[in-house]
Symmetry: C2
Subunit: 157 residues, 2 copies
DNA sequence: TACAAAAGTTAGCTTTGGCTAAATTGTGTA
DNA sequence: TACACAATTTAGCCAAAGCTAACTTTTGTA
């Protein structure tokens, strides 16, 4: 045990260290899985927002609001098309399929739960929105329920 | 405005919709940036744990606990080597550099803050560990402070 | 109604992080 | 001390998601 790099151990660390390899791996696997749906989720959510705001979702605005280039958006929209989440004739603006609409709705709700929770907790509006964009993809149903309950309690005063 | 896909709008949604394109993009950009450091952070944190538990960190165990294959670990360890976070002679086990040790320490602390917070909030141990593995990479300093404060308050009773 | 500018697409490149198959090295034990 | 088996590495494949450059289509306006 030359040069132990861990100091300041707590109960939490002990618990983490006592987990089986499989149990630990399941957390990492979940993160890798989440990464595979993040792009799709953020796109449909944003497309729904743009349709709500402007009546239409155009690639140029998707690119601007995501901070990526138009060709990147064009390529990713093809994936959404393949997956049956959007409809688009070439050079025209984008519509959501019923499946896309439902996914967008679910993502928006989850996004809102996370933001409302962070704000209820004391995080500023801006940072809450900022952090939620990443956190939302890594929150299990159990945690989401706890978030909801906390926000409800906190706003009841 | 054919077929508005957003119902059930709240204050939160309004706030999100009123942001400028740049402000919205900054959140997505932060997520993309976080993705670039996740692998490195999880590896050094795990390596520190293994050294603490076993006196050594061997690729085969890193692979098992991450749920990936040995060649994947081997390749990623080369990146950690390039970045000056670990030392390893071929076919020998891994040591952390001083820089690697410090990064691991910082990651462990952040991981613990997130887990302790979720548990204090009412999430189960197992799910807290599971969700924290993803959440930890998307929590700003401000949010982390709020988490710490909440856990402190909650445990003082 | 032309035509320039804006929007969208295509082609082709890069990096990251997975994988399998196969080669190499280290080690415990007969 | 062999040598089989375990561990590690290398080579080469793939998909995702970013980019630039170049091309095509649409649109607003003179
Ligand atoms: Mn997001
Ligand atoms: Mn979102
Ligand atoms: Mn992690
Ligand atoms: Mn971690």
């Amino acid at each position: 045990m030359t040069c132990d790099p861990m100091s300041d151990m707590t109960e939490t660390d002990e618990n983490a260290l006592n987990r089986s390899p499989d149990e630990q791996a399941s957390g990492f696997e979940a993160v890798r899985t989440a990464h595979q749906s993040e792009m799709v989720e953020d796109y449909v959510e944003l497309i729904a927002e743009l349709i709500h705001m402007n009546g239409a979702a155009r690639p140029v605005e998707i690119a601007e609001r995501l901070g990526v280039t138009q060709p990147t958006v064009s390529k990713n929209l093809n994936r959404l098309k393949r997956e049956g989440l959007i409809l688009q004739e070439p050079y025209r603006s984008i519509r959501l399929t019923e499946e896309g609409r439902q996914l967008a709705e679910a993502c928006r709700k989850r996004h809102r739960i996370v933001v409302d929770f962070l704000v209820a907790l004391g995080v500023s509006q801006e940072v809450a929105e900022y952090d939620a964009e990443g956190i939302e993809h890594h929150v299990s149903e159990e945690t989401l329920s706890v978030f909801r309950a906390f926000t409800r309690e906190r706003s009841k005063s």
